[in-house]
Every structure is written in C-alpha cells, then in structure tokens.
Amino acid sequence: MRAVLLRDLRLAMRVGGGFGLAIMFFLIVAVLVALGVGPDVALLSDISSGILWVIALLACLLSLDRIFSLDYEDGTLDHLVIAPLPLESVVLAKATAHWLTTGLPLGLVSPLVGLMLGLPAEGYLWLVLSLALGTPALSVIGTFGAALTLGLKRGGLLLSVLILPLYVPTLIFGAEVARRGSIGIELQTPLWMLLGLSFGVVAILPFASAAVLRINLR
C-alpha cells in the first residue's frame, strides 16, 4: 500500500503529473471572485468562508478523473487487481495520494486566500481546520466517483455531475465551521458533524470503490 502511495506521489510530482494544478486553480478563482464582487470589503468578508469552501470543492474535482483513468488506460490497474494486495488498500492509497496533492496544499494556502478575501482574523484557524478535516472526505468520495466512471470516454463531466451532489453535506458543515469561526460563535455541532462525515466516508467508501472497480474492470 505504501508502494502505491509513494508511486502516485512521485508520478504527481513528475512532468504532466498535475501537482500544483489544484492550488493554482484555487488561487486564480479566488482572485476572480475578489475582482468580480468588487471593492466592497464588508460583503467579501461576509461571504469569504463560503466562497473558499466552494472553490476548494471545485479544485478537488479537477484531478479526480486522473486517479484511476491513467492506470486503467496503460493496463496497470489489471496488474494491481492480480497483485497480492487488496484492492481496497489500493483505493485508499490512491485517495490518500490525491488528498496529499490537493486537499492538504489547499488547506495550507487557504489563509493567504482568506487574507485576499478579507476573512476576519478569528476565522483563519477555523478555516484551515475545517479544510483539514473536510478535504479527506472530498478525496475519498471523489475516488469513488472516479471508480464509477472508469473506462468512460470523457467521463470527467459525468464524474463532476455525479460527485458534486455527494459533496453537499461536507460543504454544508465545512463552510458552517469556517463561517461560525469567522464571526466567533459556537461551532461544536458543525465541527463534530464534519468530523463524523469524514471518518464515516473514509471507513466505508474504499470498500464501495473497490467493489465498483472490480465490476468495471471485467
């Protein structure tokens, strides 16, 4: 499992691997939003946590269809199915690699973007925390979607349509943690809901993804 994780990370760093794409997208869209909304700092500051979460969601989507499709096209996935490690752990390793190359860097640069969108000072810690707790769920759910659309030509669009609705609970509670944090009110409930969602999804979905992969690979 470690081998799959390390290989995916290495592939992401190499030419054409797409590392950094999600962060660049995140930064650019944030700038576009700031430009589009205009110079009303109060308005920007009010919507900043929600906007950041929506952009993070979209940035996550960008690289989802690469999770399995490259390995599928060059035949690597067939070899991994026969290999002596459970497909569930391959799925988990790939989701982890996806998170390490998208979710984690997004969380790390989010304070910078928050600054640009006028996020109130109390909000930074909670924004980073909500992204840190929520993005693993985005990667794991996305991996499930990638498994579902495996082998479809131009399945990327279908993948987005399938996956975005599944992102709704994470978005609701994640953005709520960041919003409540930024105006300094009690945020225990959404925080625990977010954490529970992430744990639940990480525990269950790799099994579903592996089952779907087995069917799709026949």
Binding site: R2, A3, V4, R7, R10, L11, R14, V15, G16, G17, E73, D74, G75, T76, D78, H79, L80, V81, I82, A83, P84, L85, L217, R218
Partner: protein, 208 residues
C-alpha cells in the same frame, strides 16, 4: 505430475456472445501451452478469465490462489518513471527486492535510469515482461508477448520462459508468432472450441 492449473468445461462470453465452450485442459509444472486461433476468437478474453480478471460464463478453473502473473497488450509502464523505478514499484508490490536479475534477463541494465517514456516499443515490452520475473508467480499468462520484439529479444524471452519452466513454473501463451520453447511446450488450437450462439437466460457475466 503436479498440476498447477486445471480447467474444466470452461465457457466464456463477451458482449452477449458465447465465444468458446467446453474448454478442457490441464497444465503441469514445467509445462507451457501455446494457444493459436484467428483474430476475434476470444483469446484475450480467455486469458483474462483464466487469470481471474473476468468471470467465466460456466465451468471451473482450479488453481492455487495468487498463481498468475499476467501480461496483456497494454504494457502498464509509467512514462514519467525511470525503468528501475517502474520495476522497483512492482518489486515492492510483490515483496521481492531483487530487480537486477529481471533487468539483466531482458538486457535492460543499460537503460536502468532512462525514463520509460523515452523507450522504444520493444524496450517497453521487455520492461513489461521483466515484471513477470519479479512477480514470483508460478503460472505466467502471456498475451502476445513477442509483439514488437526483435529477433534477439525473442530469443531472450524464450530463454527466460524456458528457465521459468525448468524451475517448476508454467506458462499459458497466446501468440501469432513463433516461440521455440522446447519439448515441454504444446500447441493448442482454440478454434476447436469456437461458438457463435447468443447467451440465453440472464447471465450478467455474458454482457461484460
């Protein structure tokens, strides 16, 4: 003789069409079978079913768990990794730390640090075949292994397979070319099992 694989009354299908019926054969340790047959007969489907990548419509395949190493048309080689990194990955997966034997068996030592994307088709093929040696699996399932290999590389491949058979391994090979594997190799014409009927009933397996 010790049988590593026994196939009974195997029936395979693809896209709602039965391709082959009543395939029966046994494979002993140290033995290789070469399958011949026209294009579109279902040879690749046949090998995928045997390797466990696809379910059979009916029939039984007896083999020990984790017996198979499979090489398909697609090389499964990552262009942005070097030759050594590509092999090392599979060595880690199969828990076998010795990639040097595999590299030298297919004459890849000089290409070790080259990115796989820069290899020629034949060199990629050799890299893909080298994975067989790393897998430590008894039954090699080879789908057109000699495609894009030059004469010298085909000889190398023959040597590696013969060595594998001598060590008690076995091989199932589909090829249109000629592979000289000595007396322990038999040729089977898969065309004899051909079937053209549609699948009756609701066997979902048939439509995969």
């Amino acid at each position: 003789m010790f049988m590593v694989l026994s196939v009974q009354d195997l029936c395979i299908a693809r896209s709602g069409q039965v391709l082959m019926t009543d395939v029966n054969f046994e494979l002993a340790a140290g033995q290789a079978l070469i399958f011949k047959g026209p294009n579109g007969l279902g040879k690749t489907t046949f090998l995928r079913v045997i390797s466990g990548l696809q379910p059979a419509l009916s029939g039984k395949i007896h083999a020990k768990e984790d017996s198979f190493a499979y090489t398909a048309h697609a090389d499964g080689v990552k262009p942005s990794l070097t030759v050594a990194e590509n092999l090392q990955f599979w060595a880690d997966i199969f828990d076998n730390q010795n990639i040097d034997t595999a590299l030298s068996a297919f004459g890849l030592n000089d290409l070790k640090s080259r990115f796989a994307g820069l290899l020629s088709a034949g060199q990629k093929r050799r890299l893909c075949l080298a994975r067989m040696l790393i897998s430590n699996r008894p039954v090699w399932v080879l789908d057109e292994p000699s495609v894009s290999l030059d004469t010298a590389s085909v000889t190398q491949l023959e040597e590696v397979i013969k060595q594998h058979l001598q060590n008690g391994g076995a091989a199932l090979i589909v090829t249109h070319g000629h592979l000289d594997l000595g007396p322990s190799c038999k040729t089977v014409n898969l065309g004899e099992y051909k079937s053209n009927r549609a699948v009756y009933g609701d066997g979902a397996e048939a439509f995969l």
